[in-house]
Symmetry: C2
Subunit: 292 residues, 2 copies
């Protein structure tokens, strides 16, 4: 059974250059000779190689939108069917996202970006998959897409493979770590949470300490490229942390009648002076919800 090594490798540094895929394999960076994703659905993806790929993908250096594999006609290169979240590589990248595994990123000469080499392949460092979503490719079929964000220096992973529980760290300094989740707050989100008295609109839970409520404001259509959702009340829900994660990761979504799909709860509760824009809900169903 293949055991993948996640994270940094000894003697491998960002900017290291390799003449071809065989050299990447021999260096232990990306074990498979073909295929952009190296991993399996049990352990996750340890590495991706960007080389060609979808025209809609973008690469800002520290942030990459990457499209998964499958659905292509090997002769024409045209997409002839939907990609699937269950394809081994695509599911492996989902595992890397949900489990916050570090992913090595290598760029090839056919990859269109300011960070690509003129020839061969260049190792680009460790990234985290922070988001997944669905789109329609230019041939009209479903594609599985991911946002990868660079792990900033000082928080790279140790090179050992995942095995039995290690001894841990008696040093009281914070260990090198990746960020699994950041919950941000704005003036608007604080006001929405106050309107709901910090009660989850899905399950009704009100987490309280000394009577003070804690809740999170969740964007339905995500902010940032390529979604470009707005930070407006008609794109926000007041949720408990569990339902916030489940909305963000596409485990649940809403119907146009505000019923909850993909969970055990029936309907979202609203206050009189709060309404959602149906467009945001439809976007979430089409692009974020993958739990059909």
């Amino acid at each position: 059974m293949t055991t993948y090594i996640f994270g940094a490798l000894p003697d491998l540094e960002e900017g290291d250059i390799f003449p071809n895929r065989k050299a990447l394999t021999e260096a232990g960076i990306h074990k498979v000779l073909m295929g952009g994703i190296d991993g399996n659905p049990r352990q996750g993806a340890s590495s991706i190689v960007l080389n060609g790929g979808y025209v809609d993908d973008f690469d800002l250096g520290d942030e990459i939108i990457y499209t998964g594999h499958g659905g292509n006609d090997p002769n024409t290169g045209r997409q002839i069917k939907d990609q699937s979240w269950e394809s081994p590589g695509n599911k492996a990248l989902l595992v890397s996202e949900l489990h916050a595994l570090p992913v090595r990123v290598t760029r090839g000469y056919k990859h269109h970006s300011a960070f690509s080499p003129k020839s061969g392949f260049v190792y680009g460092g460790l990234y985290q998959v922070t988001e997944h979503f669905e789109d329609r490719g230019k041939d009209g079929f479903l594609i599985c897409r991911y946002r990868l964000q660079k792990i900033q220096p000082g928080s790279t992973m140790p090179p050992e493979p995942i095995q039995s529980l290690p001894a841990g760290n008696e040093d009281s300094k914070r260990q090198t770590s990746t960020v699994l989740r950041i919950v941000r707050d704005t003036k608007l989100s604080r006001e929405l949470k106050a309107l709901y008295d910090y009660t989850c609109q899905i399950c009704g839970l009100r987490i309280t300490i000394k009577g003070i409520g804690y809740a999170e404001a969740a964007h339905i259509k995500p902010l940032g490229k390529p979604h470009n959702g707005f930070d407006k009340a008609d794109n926000l829900l007041c949720l408990c942390p569990n339902h916030h994660v489940m909305l963000d990761k596409g485990i649940l979504t809403l119907t146009d009648e505000f019923e909850v799909l993909g969970g055990e709860y029936e309907k979202v509760t609203f206050k009189a002076d709060h309404a959602l824009d149906g467009e945001n809900i439809r976007y979430h169903r089409a692009h974020i919800f993958i739990n059909e």
Copy 2:
């Protein structure tokens, strides 16, 4: 009724100097003339003034440990009874923590730190309360303590008071925001979560997408000063996001027999090869749990 203004004020800049408390009041920074905490339990605390204070407090500039008010004999200055989380100022700071409100910090000439002025008062910028905990002061009575962390430039708050829901932001750029919660992940925490198959040790919930589990690893005795907990398996639980928040905020804790105090669940479930260090549980009960 007093309406507090949270966040930045027009014409106020970090480093601005004021001769005395009256000038701070007139500038709208800190409305009360006496008292270190300006706020109330309904709206939260908008401002603190550091001037004297507890010997165990520390001030690293970007990070401050601050002790709340109450329990002092006004004649001797000695502590003669426990402080209370229900005291107006202490509770106001808890509200600021739970609701991620920005808090103005001003340092006075009696405050012992490298950032204090020789005379008068200096405005130090906006902070977030990221943690609360209990200690015993040098006179043996309970004190209520807080960690404040500086809000980094570029994420300061708008100066308006909290009122009705604003129109929001159609700009698709991310709005100025504070960070409500950061969930970090290490190799150890990933392995612990795999051991539990991403199932919450308190409620048994397993959040899944396409069969892939999502859980969070929670430190019982917190990392970092002044707690100095270890990043070791005997200090970690695998929890759902809701129970992670509830453990971190001291809403629930564990008995020495691993019963859950402060929640609706009875007992923590363990795998055979995972055990907690009782010292970590006792620390959490004594310092973090405030829901008695």
